[in-house]
Amino acid sequence: MSYDPVMLLEAYRRMRAIREFEERMRREVQMGTVPGFVHLYCGQEAVGVGACMNLRDTDYIGSTHRGHGHCISKGCDIGGMLLEIYCKQGGLCNGKGGSMHIADLRKGMLGANAIVGGAPPIAVGAALTHRTLGTDGVAMAFIGDGASNQGTVAEALNFSAVLKLPMIFLYENNGYAEFTGAGYHLGGADIAKRAASFGMPAEKVDGVDFFAVYDAVGRAVAHARAGKGPYAVEAFAYRWYGHFEGDMQKYRDPKEVDRLRAAQCPLARFESRATAEFDIDVSELREIDEEIQELIEEKVAAAKAAPKPPREALYTDVYGSY
C-alpha cells in the first residue's frame, strides 16, 4: 500500500490539531474557563482522522457527545469550534449549542449529539439523501461502545441494510461507557459481529493505527460509494482521560493512562511508520506541531475575547417562520 504524502501530512495535521486542542481544553476546564461539560478525544485521534480522510465535504458524518475530534477530522474550522465551545457569537452554532452540539453542515458535519444513540438514524437519513439524489456520496455515524447498545443503532443498521444505503457505521470502542467497562456492558462482546448480523460487511481494526483505520474505512467507503450498501468498522482505541473532564476515574487502574500514553499514542505510531515507510520527514511534522500550537493559542485567545451573543439571540432561530 502507498499513500499520498499530501494526504498523510494533512492527516497528521488534523491528529495533532485534535491533540493540541483537547489538551488545551483540558487545562482550560481545570482552570474553570469553559462552560458546560467537555468530553475529550485524546487517544482516539487516529479513528476520527483515519475515517474522515476518506470523506469529502459532500459526505456526511453524525457525531456524539465526544465530538471535537470528529469535527476537526471532518475539517471544521477550529476558530469557529472554539467560539462555539466558549458559547460566543460567531461560533459554529452562534454560541447556542456549545461543546456537545457543534455542527457545520457545509462541512458535512451533522452535529455532535448529547443523546447517546441520537445521531445514527440521522446519518442514515443523510445517506438516504445521497441515494435519492443519485450521487455517490456517503454518510458515516460515529458510535461509542456504550452507544452501540442503544436500540436506535440497531434500527439504523437494519434500515440502511434494507434500503442498501451508502452508510458507514464507525464504532469507536474506547473501552468505557461513562464509568463502566465495555467488558461488562456488551452482550456478546463483539460489536462488529452485531453489525454483520444485519447483513453488511464488518471489520475490526486497531484504532490507534491511523493506517489501519484509513484502509478499513477506505474499503467501507468504496463499498458504499459503489452502491453496495452499508459497511461497519469497529475501531479499538482507549480514551486517555475521564469520561468528561473532571471525572475521578475510580474505575480505572491509575497506571492505565500512563501506559496508554507510552504505548498507545496514535500520533507517535503515525510518526514512526510515516517517517520509516512513507518518506515523511520528521521536520515536516515538527513544523506542523508548531503551526498547530500557534493556531490553538491564537484561537483560544480569540474565543475568550469574543463577544457573547446578544440577549435577543435567546429568542431567534427557534423557527424559520412562526
Binding site: 456526511y60 453524525g62 461560533g91 459554529l92 452554532c93 452562534n94 454560541g95 447556542k96 449549542g97 452540539h101 455542527a103 453542515l105 451533522l110 452535529g111 449529539n113 448529547a114 443523546i115 441520537g118 445514527p120 438514524p121 440521522i122 446519518a123 442514515v124 437519513g125 443523510a126 445517506a127 438516504l128 439523501t129 445521497h130 441515494r131 435519492t132 439524489l133 443519485g134 454518510a139 436500540g151 436506535t152 434500527e155 439504523a156 437494519n158 434500515f159 434494507v162 434500503l163 431567534t316 432561530d317 427557534v318 423557527y319 424559520g320 417562520s321 412562526y322
Partner: protein, 342 residues
C-alpha cells in the same frame, strides 16, 4: 372545487407537492406494501389506509420508501434527509407510537435550528393518526397533540375538514420547520368541498366555522364538527355561538381567539386530549391572562376524563366529548351569574 373525502384531500396534497418538488419524499411502513411478498412486486397497500396508493408507480421507489417497523429510524432518517436537502414526509402510523420515537422529535428535529445557531432548515413533516372512536383500545386511540405543542421548535397542525387537510398539508410540506401533522382517523371518511390544484392554508390562522355573539367555542380537530353541530342546534333557540378552529396549535392564532372572547365574554374549549396540561387548559389560560376583563362567566373545558381510552365501545363513546356535553357547557356559561360580572 369538488367534493372529496378527508383522505382523498390528503392524497391530493401529497401528490401535488411531490409533482411540484422532486425533493419531497415519502417514507413509512407499508407506504407501498407488498414488497417481499409472494404476489410479485405489486403495490399491496399504498399506506395502511390507502393514502399513498399509486404513488410508488408514479414517483418511483426512491421517493416512496417502505421501511421496517422502526419508528426511531424512520423519523431519524427523515431528520437527516431534511438536514441534507430533501423534504421528507414521514409516517408514524398512529400517534400513540410517538412513544418509540420521541427523541427524534423532542431532542433532534425540534432543536436543530436553535442549537445549530440558525444555520439549517428542517423541512420535515410527520403525518400521524390521532383520535378515539374506532374501539382500537388504549394504545391506538390517543390525542397527544398538546405534548408536541409544548415542544419549542415543532409546529403542529390538526385539520378538521378535507379542505384544511389539503391546504395545511401542502403548507406543512413547503414549511422549513418540522411539522407534526395530526390526521384524525374518524374524519378520514368525511366529505367536503376541496379547492382544486395548488392550495395552501397558512399556519397560525384560525378558521371561524360559525359566527356568533353569545358564546365562543374553541375546538380542535374532530371536535370542531361536534361544536358546529351544537352551534347549529342552539341557533334555532336564538343562542348565537361562535366556533373557532385554530387549525394549528403551534403557531396558535391567539388574536382570533382573544377577539372572539372579548366579544362574547363566554368561552368553552373542546379538545380530545387529556384535561391536564392540554389545549383546553391552554386556551382557558390564554383567555384568563389576556382577556380576564371580558369574561362574563367561568370558561368551561370539555375534554375526556383523565383516564386511558377504554377499548370498550360504549365506554369509549362515554369517554369522548359529545354534542350533549358541549351543549351543556355552553348553557352553563350562559346561566352563570358571575358575582363580579358587569
Amino acid at each position: 372545487m369538488a367534493v372529496k373525502t378527508y383522505r382523498e384531500a390528503i392524497t391530493e396534497a401529497l401528490q401535488i407537492e411531490m409533482r411540484r418538488d422532486p425533493r419531497v419524499i415519502i417514507l413509512g411502513e407499508d407506504v407501498v406494501g407488498g414488497l417481499g411478498g409472494t404476489n410479485g412486486e405489486v403495490e399491496a397497500a399504498g399506506g395502511t389506509f390507502g393514502v399513498t396508493a399509486g404513488f410508488a408507480a408514479e414517483f418511483g421507489r426512491r421517493r416512496v420508501i417502505d421501511t421496517p417497523i422502526t419508528e426511531s429510524a424512520i423519523v431519524g432518517a427523515a431528520n437527516g434527509a431534511a438536514l441534507t436537502g430533501l423534504r421528507p414526509v414521514a409516517e408514524v402510523m398512529f400517534m400513540d407510537f410517538i412513544g418509540v420515537c420521541l427523541d427524534q422529535m423532542l431532542n433532534q428535529m425540534a432543536k436543530f435550528r436553535y442549537m445549530f445557531g440558525g444555520k439549517c432548515d428542517v423541512p420535515v413533516v410527520i403525518r400521524t393518526l390521532m383520535g378515539a372512536g374506532f374501539g382500537a383500545g388504549p394504545q391506538h386511540s390517543q390525542s397527544l397533540h398538546a405534548l408536541l405543542t409544548a415542544i419549542p421548535g415543532l409546529k403542529v397542525a390538526l385539520p378538521s375538514s378535507p379542505a384544511d387537510a389539503k391546504g395545511l398539508l401542502a403548507t406543512a410540506i413547503r414549511d422549513n420547520d418540522p411539522v407534526i401533522f395530526c390526521e384524525h382517523k374518524v374524519l378520514y371518511g368525511e366529505s367536503g368541498e376541496v379547492p382544486d390544484g395548488e392550495y395552501l392554508v397558512p399556519f397560525g390562522e384560525a378558521n371561524v366555522t360559525r359566527r356568533g355573539n353569545h358564546v365562543t367555542i374553541v375546538a380542535f380537530s374532530r371536535m370542531v364538527l361536534l361544536a358546529n353541530a351544537v352551534a347549529d342546534r342552539l341557533a334555532k333557540e336564538g343562542i348565537s355561538v361562535e366556533v373557532i378552529d385554530p387549525r394549528t396549535t403551534s403557531p396558535l392564532d391567539r388574536d382570533s381567539i382573544l377577539e372572539s372572547v372579548e366579544k362574547t365574554g363566554r368561552l368553552v374549549v373542546v379538545d380530545e386530549g387529556d384535561p391536564y396540561c392540554g389545549m383546553a387548559s391552554e386556551i382557558v389560560s390564554l383567555a384568563a391572562t389576556e382577556a380576564l376583563d371580558a369574561l362574563k362567566a367561568a370558561p368551561v373545558k370539555v375534554t375526556p376524563p383523565h383516564t386511558p381510552v377504554p377499548a370498550t365501545p360504549h365506554l369509549e363513546q362515554e369517554w369522548l366529548p359529545s354534542p350533549d356535553k358541549i351543549e351543556k357547557a355552553v348553557r352553563a356559561t350562559l346561566d352563570s351569574k358571575l358575582a363580579r360580572a358587569g
